[in-house]
């Protein structure tokens, strides 16, 4: 079915934040640090303030009591022995700058052009300090400290264990041990961030348009910061041009400062990030270094895994431990791994803050386990697909408790799954057996370097705490649905409408959906962790079910029939067997809200209900990706010949949207594997902060993805859905490494790092010689 949001988007009528235009609107530009690490000795904005067209310039000193570090967005789970040093970002740097691009001063002017002109007038005196860049060096004695009140650059340390790894190791036939590096890049949504704010002095109401994935927490936080009632603040996340994680960092300095300036100046104020700022000021994901080992029996049965890793959290850690805990948990994959010992250390560096980007650390874990299995298979002489099959969890093992804590503080328990058929489906789709037995030997004999890869993964999705929805049948017969999560292109308008339409027996086109506007709905958290369809979708379902009960209750009285004999269909309710009779829902809605007469005690007016859904824990989606590649050993160029995805996200509400999510995820994963890397020099300068130098995959780089759906419903929600938003991006790096290594088997190259690039791959081939 078509998406209801598309006509507006296709004709240029959809409202994005930078499209907001208000009378008297002022524009903002930020002066950002050129240094990765420096002591600020003075920031002199007097010349900038005198420039024509400049209305105000603010430095940290001008913020007074409003200057305070941001909140800790995600407190860490209660892991025994956990060390966690929260250091959250500040609105404008004071005393010290901790990464290139950290905001130092804010200029408000009559136009963006004038605001940017004035940045040149601000004189900053700074005393550069050595930058902390390298992950391993960050903890070395004598290294400068990013946060001087801490004894070192240690941001966190956590150990999680299940079973007895030492015993597993003693029993193992082989120990496969390697060091892995997995680096990720920018989210690179094509829309940069933006914030616009308007303080209506008569209504005493603040309206903020924000490219956020979490408008409700932004509203609640702003009310608290600005001393307003929550009801005085309306936050609208209108159409948002891609999120992928970093649009949920509360609070970015700009989100704190733009509304404040609008209130202070009594004029609407807008800031829109430019692409270069996005590379420095929007959060990223980045590197981890894993020292991992796999204890394996002779038949390929995994006895245990030990992994010790370093995680780069950047200059501040407001998002807690979500990313490294996702890495830690997702490493276990779809496999029955009886013992696991995982220890990580997160370190502060003088780089942009790290928060989740599509996949959110899961990639790193998948890469480690999948590569270990590949090396084990080679050492034991077992086929790569076969070693995976031997270790997959069986259907009768669900729910399966992994005995460690997930990012939502709940035990890492897989709700449901049927993994082996997914592997079989992928092998069949890519014709694995024939490729390995016939095609690859034939092509290799002809001098061609072709390889195949098969990797499995799970994705923890749809975590709590909760979302809500309100469903209203209007007298016109149209249904209004309001929910708190914002949308960044996932098709929420359409999917939520489908869920409600099915319950109420109306056409999905009759369901008008509002998301991401706190005036319409103000309870909820946001769009993250592939949870929209699962959690908000379930809330929409619950609200629709409650409205359906009201419809049946009223209609049974009006039609003098038992509720059990009534049918909701085509926007009407009728007695079974009498489709021509009955009442339109709109007519019932009118009757439910009469202008005169008595209303029965204990009833509510109208056909409206609000409901909430909060899962105890997340639901676990899974999948298998397979790929055939050809590598040119002269140029190290990789051509993807085929790309197959078999995935299981529980009940599929809208196959078209699910496939679209997978296509985009795979493209993002391919970027991560072969094109995208944020390159920092030893002074903490990002060397490739433009789309000229930081390469996103284009239409000629991304293959057609052949998708197969499998549906193992989740028992944790009434819809049976699991999330799918991040799935495509999660196994791609591991798959790329396996397939490319297979193609280059004659070179002996071993790939233990992502991202690759033609250059890096060429170097690895040289080293292997």
């Amino acid at each position: 079915m078509r998406r209801s949001e598309d006509a507006r988007l296709l004709t240029g009528r959809a409202l994005f934040v930078d499209d907001v235009r208000l009378d008297g609107m002022l524009h903002v530009a930020f002066l950002r640090s050129q240094h990765a690490h420096a002591r600020l000795t003075s920031v002199d904005a007097s010349a900038a303030r005198g420039r024509p067209g400049v209305v105000a310039v603010y430095t940290a000193a001008d913020l007074g009591d409003y200057w305070r570090p941001g909140p800790l967005l995600v407190p860490p789970p209660p892991i025994a022995g956990l060390v966690f040093n929260p250091c959250t970002q500040v609105p404008l740097a004071k005393d010290k700058v901790r990464h290139v691009g950290e905001a130092v001063a804010m200029v408000v002017a009559e136009s963006r052009y004038l605001a940017e002109d004035a940045l040149d007038d601000i004189v900053v005196e700074a005393e550069p300090l050595p930058a902390v860049v390298d992950l391993e060096a960050a903890l070395a004695p004598g290294t400068p400290r990013v946060h001087e009140h801490l004894p070192s650059n240690l941001a966190a340390h956590a150990v999680q264990r299940k079973g007895d790894y030492a015993r597993a190791k003693a029993r193992a036939h082989a120990i496969i041990k390697r060091r892995f590096r997995y680096d990720r890049g920018a989210s690179a949504a094509i829309e940069n961030r933006a914030v616009a704010a308007h303080w209506d002095q008569r209504a005493e109401e603040l309206t903020v348009w924000d490219t956020t994935q979490a408008p409700i927490p932004i509203r609640n936080g702003l009310a608290q910061l600005l001393g307003l009632l929550e009801s005085q603040v309306r936050v609208v996340a209108p159409y948002v041009g891609g999120g992928f994680g970093p649009k949920i960092m509360m609070f970015y300095p700009e989100e704190v400062l733009v509304p404040w300036a609008a209130m202070r100046l009594g004029r609407p104020v807008k800031w829109t990030e430019d692409r270069q700022e996005n590379f420095f000021a929007t959060t990223q994901e980045r590197g981890q270094i894993h020292d991992a080992e796999l204890a394996v029996a002779k038949d390929g049965t995994v006895l245990g895994v030990k992994d010790v890793f370093l995680h780069d959290t950047g200059a501040y850690d407001p998002y807690g431990l979500t990313v490294p805990i996702n890495s830690q948990c997702t490493l276990l994959g779809p496999y029955d791994i009886p013992s696991y010992e995982s220890e990580f250390t997160a370190v502060f560096t003088n780089k942009t803050i790290v928060t989740p980007v599509r996949g959110a650390g899961r990639q790193h874990g998948v890469f480690v386990i999948e590569r270990l299995l590949d090396f084990a298979a080679r050492e034991l002489g077992i086929d790569r697909a076969e070693i995976r099959r031997r270790n997959l969890l069986r259907p009768d093992q669900f729910p399966f408790n992994n005995d460690i804590l997930f990012q939502d503080s709940a035990p890492l328990t897989y709700d449901s799954g049927d993994y082996e058929p997914a592997l079989d489906a992928a092998l069949k789709a890519i014709d694995y057996g024939r490729f390995v037995r016939e095609e690859q030997p034939r092509l290799r004999a002809a001098g061609r370097h072709v390889g195949i890869g098969v990797v499995c993964y799970v994705e923890g999705t749809g975590i709590g705490p909760y979302e809500g929805a309100r469903v209203t049948v209007e007298p016109s017969g149209r249904v209004r649905l309001a929910t708190g999560v914002g949308t960044q292109g996932q098709g929420h308008f359409t999917v939520f409408a489908q869920i409600v339409a099915e319950v109420l027996g109306v056409d999905a086109g009759e369901v008008h959906v509002v998301t991401g506007d706190t005036r319409e709905f103000h309870w909820g958290t946001g769009t993250f962790a592939s949870r929209g369809a699962v959690v908000a979708g379930s809330a929409c379902h619950a609200a629709a079910v409650a409205v359906r009960a009201k419809v049946l209750d009223l209609a049974s009285r009006e039609l003098e029939a038992a509720a059990a004999d009534l049918v909701l269909d085509g926007g009407r309710v009728h007695v079974r067997g009498d489709p021509g009779g009955g009442l339109a829902l709109g007519a019932l809605a009118l009757k439910a809200n009469p202008l005169r007469g008595a209303v029965r005690p204990g009833t509510e007016p109208g056909l409206e209900a609000t409901a909430y859904f909060g899962p105890d824990r997340g639901s676990t989606a899974n999948g298998v990706h397979a790929m055939v590649v050809e590598v040119d050993p002269e140029t190290a160029q990789v051509e993807i010949k085929r790309y197959v995805v078999v995935h299981d996200c529980g009940r599929v509400i809208n196959p078209m949207i699910v496939e679209g999510q997978i296509h985009g995820g795979v493209a993002h994963g391919i970027g991560n594997a072969f094109y995208e890397q944020l390159v920092y020099d030893e002074e903490g300068q990002l060397l490739n902060a433009s789309f000229m130098d930081y390469l996103l995959p284009t239409a000629t780089d991304v293959p057609n993805v052949e998708t197969t759906h499998r549906e193992t419903p989740s028992p944790l929600n009434p819809v049976g859905a699991k999330g799918v938003g991040e799935a495509g991006a999660i196994p791609t790096g591991a798959l790329f490494a396996q397939a490319v290594e297979d193609a280059l088997a004659d070179t002996g190259v071993e790939i233990r790092e992502i991202p690759l690039s033609p250059n890096r791959l060429f170097e690895l081939m040289q080293e292997a010689r």
Binding site: G12, D19, Y239, D274, H663, M692, T698, A699
Partner: protein, 163 residues
């Protein structure tokens, strides 16, 4: 001396006359002077293609032009593709909706404006030609697959070459 320069430009069939700063980008002129916010800005250095518009029928990046350079020319933006009410879609727009050729929709106006002249010159393109034509437009949501399918659909070809 008045730092403003006069610019007279026809946009979507309507003639506009404005005095603007010579440094004003065409993209900003369209969006902020004329209120045609369907043209989006993604990188301001000519890579992402989101700001693509037609200048005398050819695709150009409006972030790489000054408004004054459009003086005397004819510009078409995404708002000019359909009938204005948005009720009747251009066949290419309709194909994008059918084939799920957009997700967040931010890059979409630029993609459409790139494809309009391309399809004029290549009414029956093969997949390779379509991908080449799209290679100057960055999309982070779709993986391009359904954009290609939408173009094929608009040309009357089966929307999916495989799977």
């Amino acid at each position: 001396m008045d730092p403003h320069a006069n610019v007279e430009v026809t946009v979507n069939g309507v003639r506009h006359r404005r005095a603007v700063e010579p440094r004003l980008l065409l993209s900003d002129f369209l969006r902020h002077e004329l209120g045609l916010t369907g043209t989006h800005v993604g990188c301001e250095h000519g890579v992402c293609g989101a700001c693509t518009v037609l200048l005398d029928g050819d695709a150009v990046r409006s972030c790489l032009m000054f408004a004054v350079q459009a003086d005397g020319h004819d510009v078409t933006t995404v708002e000019g593709l359909s009938d204005g009410s948005g009720e009747t879609l251009h066949p290419l727009q309709a194909a994008f909706r059918e084939a799920h050729g957009l997700q967040c929709g931010f890059c979409t106006p630029g993609v459409l404006m790139t494809l309009v002249p391309f399809l004029r010159e290549h009414p029956d393109p093969d997949e390779r030609q379509i991908r080449e034509a799209l290679s100057g437009n960055l999309c982070r949501c779709t993986g391009y697959q359904n954009i290609v399918a939408a173009v094929r659909l608009a040309c009357g070809a089966p929307s999916s070459p495989r799977a």
